[in-house]
Each structure stands twice: as C-alpha cells, then as structure tokens.
C-alpha cells in the first residue's frame, strides 16, 4: 500500500503539490491559531502572576457606608478587623504566609518629617526639638507589619533597601524600625540610631531602633498626598506589636494579606474562606485585585476565544476543501479503482491507500510548517506582547515589562522583522513548544481523517463491473 501510494504521489506530482500547498497553508493557520491561544493564555498567566498570589482581607467600604447613620463619623461606622478574624484565614489551605498590617499616625519631637510643600513649612515652622507640636498633628505613619518579606512595594522594587535590612518575623515584639533614606538624611540618621514617637493623644511613647533604610524609587501615592503622614518618605515600618501599642489595642489591624502558593488558587481560597469561617463577608472582603485582573484579561480572553473559533474554522474549512479536492481527484481515479477491485484489492485497503497518500503529504506540510510556523507565531507573539504592554500601561498597576523606547521600536518593526525575531518576552514565544507541536500533529491527523471520510463513502459504493463496463464501452 505504501509503495503504491508513493508511486501514485510521485507520478501525480501536480496533484500532490497542490495538496501539499493546501496542507502547508492549513498547518500554518493552525499554528497561528494555537499561537494566539497559547500566547493569550501565557499573557493571562503573566497578568495573574504580576498581580501576585496575594489576597487582602479588609473591610468592604461600600457595604459599611450603607449602614452609616447620617452625620456619623467614619471611624464610628467602620468595623475594625481583628486578629481573631484574620487568624481564621491564615491556616486555610493554599496559604503559604501572611502579613497583618496596622497603620497609625504618630508624631515625633526627635525628627522633622519630609515636608510636602514649602507653604506648610512656612505655616508650621519646625525647628527640631524646639518645635511645639499639636497633639493631633501626626506627621508620620507607623506601619506595623508581621513581616516585610512580601510587601508589594519592595517586591515590585518601588522601594529599594539601601542599607541595613528589612523586618522579618524574627523582629516580632521588638522596637526595630525601617525608615526612608530622605527622612534619614534630612535628620542625619543612620542604621543603629534611635527615634522616639508619640501617639496622637500623646499618651503612648515608643523609642525605635533603625535597622534598615530604604529608598523610594517610584510611588503611586505621590500625586494624591494631602499631608505629611501620607508621604511614603514619612512612613516608619515596624513590627505589628509596635503599631498596636501606639493604637492601645492589641486586637485591631487595618488589613491582613495572605500569600498563596499559586495564583490559580485565589478563587478556591476565597470560596474556602467563605464556607469555612464565621466572617461576615457582607462587611469584610477578600480582594485579589480581581477587578483589575478581569479588566486586564478581557481582551486576552477575547483573543483566546477568537483563537478557538479560528481553529475550528481552519479545521472545518481545511477538511472541506481537502475533501472536495480528494473527491475531484477520485473521480479522475475512477478507472484505477476499478482495476484494483478487479485484481482483488479490498475497498478498505484502497481507502487506506488514499489516507496514506494524504497523510504523507500532510506529514511533509507539517514538517515544513514547523519552520515557517515559528515565523507566524513570532508575529502573533509580537502582536500580543504589544497588546499586553498597552494593557499593562493603561489598566494595570504592574511593573514595566518593557522600556517605553522598546515598545516604540516594536511598533516600527516590519512584518518581516516581527516574523524573524522572537518576542522579547520569552513567555510569549510559544511556537515550538511540545504542546503546540503535539496539538498541530493531532489536528493535522484529524483533518486527514475527516477529509477522507466522504471520499471513502464514494469508494465503498463502487462496483467493479460498473467501472470496468463503463471503461470497456
């Protein structure tokens, strides 16, 4: 059969070439579809990863406002999160580590804050220890954390440690702190120095030892700051216990963040939290940046769906076209089938021979497309990379994957340049993954099988006498 198939293919090279071109086109289109699908999936994964696998437990402002009475102060209507509530979540499945945070406004007679405006300086001149402070004039924020190991500002490198170290769980119940480098230089502070802070009501005073100094590289808060204490340069990172001491309540926290083992487990974790704890999720919420994620991936999901539809169309249309070509080919091979039948060849073997012929052609087309498919998927990869960067710039608060100049350079690339260059984002270079090659092989094989079905029915209803009788007459 194989010998006969090879002979037939060689002698009918024109037909074989036509089928090869068609198969080559189909396989490249399949690669394009698979690349879109894989790259959009990869891009979605990247978006998810960039948003982190952390879930923040905090109060749900919208629902709390519903319960607020007219004229009621905000702090009276807000229900605080307690460590008891947060502790219920820390031992749930998927949680790798956690961080409880409590932010408290404080003032200090030892140091000057990094001023927001010169006007402020004029209005409330500060002269070091000679300054007279109002009890409610909090220039600093004590940010008490269980650990600084996973703080997004440091992980995203918006804040960078410049000397000393960050606080870890080993700093629990210590008076250590980490301050910003501008604050440190304005006040001639360095690692090992001590600073004293007072609570708003002046009743609590804590003396902290500086163990680390960080530098603010970029900050999203800068534009929205209204007071000194909102300035990230005036933030003092301490252990949670310090903030609780100043707050004079060792049960309250501002929020709790849970770091999960995998971003894919976020939804499962939220569902588990809702089903296995007594926390009122009407009042409190577990936020996984899901809205940002959903907004960011909407386009990518559409791309993924488009890829599926595209693949279905390619497979169906490709099969139909191949099927029609094979039927037309078979009409011209009508007499040949009659001869084979008269020699005693079974119809099943004749169908198998047809299949072998189309399969061998598909195999060549498939092999060739592994080379050209790389180019197709490079183009797709570039397209998605560009889309992803635009998405991240416009909608997301995630670190820049690409310098701006590089994006502009990409826009200037010709189609050929895009085809021969892999995307800079290696995750979007999906052309030759074993998965893509495997799917391509499966789909190509499927097209061969589908395209041979109808022509096979044609062969099955052949009668040798009818064919040869027609020939003889």
């Amino acid at each position: 059969m194989l010998k006969t198939a090879l002979l037939s293919m060689r002698k009918n090279w024109g037909r074989s070439l036509l089928l090869l071109l068609l198969m080559f086109l189909i396989t490249n289109l399949i690669i394009a579809g698979l690349s879109i699908q894989s790259a959009s999936q990869e891009a979605m994964n990247q978006v998810r990863t960039s948003l982190g696998s952390d879930v923040t437990f905090s109060y749900q402002m919208k629902n709390m406002m519903k319960d607020r009475e007219k004229g009621q102060a905000l702090d009276e209507s807000i229900q605080n999160i307690t460590t008891d509530m947060a502790d219920q979540l820390k031992d749930l499945e998927y949680v790798e580590s956690y961080n409880y945070t409590l932010s408290v406004g404080v003032s200090s007679e030892d140091i000057n804050p990094v001023e927001m405006t010169s006007q402020t300086t004029q209005e409330t001149p500060r002269m070091g220890n000679e300054m007279t402070k109002m009890p409610d004039d909090n220039d600093f924020t004590i940010v008490g954390d269980t650990t600084m190991a996973h703080l997004s500002e440091f992980e995203n490198e918006n804040y960078v440690l410049s000397s000393g170290r960050l606080l870890t769980e080993d700093d629990a119940n210590t008076q250590n702190c980490v301050i910003e480098t501008t604050l440190a230089s304005d006040n001639d502070l360095s690692v090992g120095d001590q600073i004293t802070f007072q609570s708003s009501d002046g009743e609590v005073e804590v003396t902290l030892t500086i163990v680390g100094i960080y530098r603010v590289e970029t900050s999203e808060q800068m534009g929205n700051m209204m007071s000194n204490r909102q300035n990230p340069m005036n933030q003092i990172y301490t252990d949670l216990s310090v903030a609780q001491t100043i707050n004079q309540d060792d049960t309250q926290i501002s929020s709790a963040t849970y770091y999960l083992d995998d971003p894919d487990h976020i939804e499962a974790f939220i569902a588990l939290a809702q089903s296995s704890t007594d926390i009122d999720f009407e009042t409190f919420t577990l936020d996984a940046n899901d809205q940002i994620y959903q907004r960011s991936i909407a386009f990518l999901e559409s791309m993924g769906q488009f890829a599926v539809i595209f693949l279905i169309i390619v497979v169906v249309a490709g099969s139909i076209i191949l099927c029609l070509i094979l039927i037309l080919t078979m009409r011209s091979r009508f007499y040949e089938y009659g001869v084979f039948l008269s020699l005693g060849q079974s119809k099943i073997k004749m169908i198998c021979q047809q299949f072998i012929e189309i399969f061998l052609i598909a195999l060549i087309g498939w092999t060739l497309s592994l080379g050209t498919g790389k180019m197709v998927s490079n183009v797709i990869g570039h397209m998605l990379e560009s889309t992803q960067n635009n998405q991240s710039e416009v909608m997301m608060e995630m670190p820049d994957n690409q310098p701006e100049t590089q994006n502009k350079g990409q826009k200037d690339m010709t189609l050929w340049d895009q085809a021969i260059q892999s995307p800079d984002n290696q995750e979007l270079d999906v052309s030759l993954t074993p998965r893509t090659v495997g799917y391509l092989a499966g789909m190509t094989f499927g097209i061969c099988v589908i395209s041979i079905v109808l022509p096979s029915l044609y062969i099955l209803r052949l009668s040798p006498r009818e064919i040869l009788g027609r020939r003889e007459s």
């Binding site: 001869v339 039948l341 008269s342 040869l468 003889e472």
Partner: protein, 224 residues
Amino acid sequence: MEEVLTFEKVSYHYQDGSKRVNILKETDFTFEKGKTYAIVGASGSGKTTTLSLASGLDKPQEGRVLYKGQDIVKSGLTRYRRYDIAIVFQSYNLIMYMNAIQNVVCAMDIARMKIKNKSKYALSLLQELGLSEEECRRDIRKLSGGQQQRVAIARAIAKDVDIILCDEPTGNLDEETTKGIIQIFIDLAHQKDKCVIVVTHSKELAACMDVQLQIENQKLKVIE
C-alpha cells in the same frame, strides 16, 4: 480433467425501464482446467455478463457460481478475485502511473504471493512474452497496444491462478499480434493446466479454442 468453475442454475436479469430483460436463466455449465473456452455471440447476448459472473465482478440473482465446489459469493467475491482468478480486458486496464514491472508486481502484492524477488520474476515473465527490459521499465503509456496487452497477460499469469478470464483480448490488436496472443492462451491451458475463458467476437480466435460456447435462450450451450 478437473472441474474448476461451475454455473449452477444461474439466472441474471436487469431492468430496462419497466421491462425486465433476462440475460441468463437457470443456466448450468462446468469449466475444466487445461482447456480453452470461447464464448461467442452477438452484442447484448450476455457474453460480458457471463464473464462478470465467472470473474466475481458481479453476482447472480439466482443460482450459484462454484469455484472448486464452493460458492464464490459465500467465500467472498473480493477474495475470489484476489486468489483464484485473473482477468485480461480488451482495454488492458493497467495502472497508468506504474511501469510494466510495477503493474505485474502490484497484482502479485494484492494476491499476497510469497516470491522473494517479485520484480525479477515479473521481468522474466514479461520477457517471456516478448518485451525487452527497456520496454518493461518504460512509461506504460508509451507502449503499443500489443505490448500493453502482453503486460496485462503477464499480470494474469503472475498470479498463478487456475482460471484466466479474457474479455475481447485481441479486440484492439493487429492480426500478427492477435496470433501471438492466441498462442499464449493455448499454451497457458495446455502446458500450464489453466482454464482459459475468452469472450470474443473474433471467429478466428474462437476457432482456436478447445470449446466454443454461445448463449442461446438465456443458457450457455456448446457449439458442436
């Protein structure tokens, strides 16, 4: 002589509009090995139908065709065509994308013959029938009618079957070539103990056969 093919009360008809046309009706006949048979008669008398039934290209509507006592429909028409008979057609019916050797080897492959070097065997058969090696390897379409018919006969002989059925085998050939082909058939029957059944219009060819048959009143009858 060994009986090899038997028509047992075989009937065959076809519908021509509302009219039923009987070709064969309860006809009985037995063909033997080592003999040549010619089926003669006017066009439309049922010669080709008889050959189709004998070759398993069609099956009787009534009665049975027996090969060595076994009903060919029950044992399988494809199997019968593959292992037990060979057919030579008026228009040769060769596979056009194969050369002469490949055509012969293809038939041997389909018949699953266990011969070590099939190409060499095919070449020797073709050379016995008067084709040169160069002609055997030439594009089949570039051979003359007589040469193509010899290839078709070589293909039939290569299968080494008991029955060789021929439909107007000399219809497209010149007189000289016809004589050569007739001699091949006679030798196949008398020297290689084959049963050769030939459907022909040619009186010359029919006269050379051991038994001449005609279809009379929808029955196969020997012409005395």
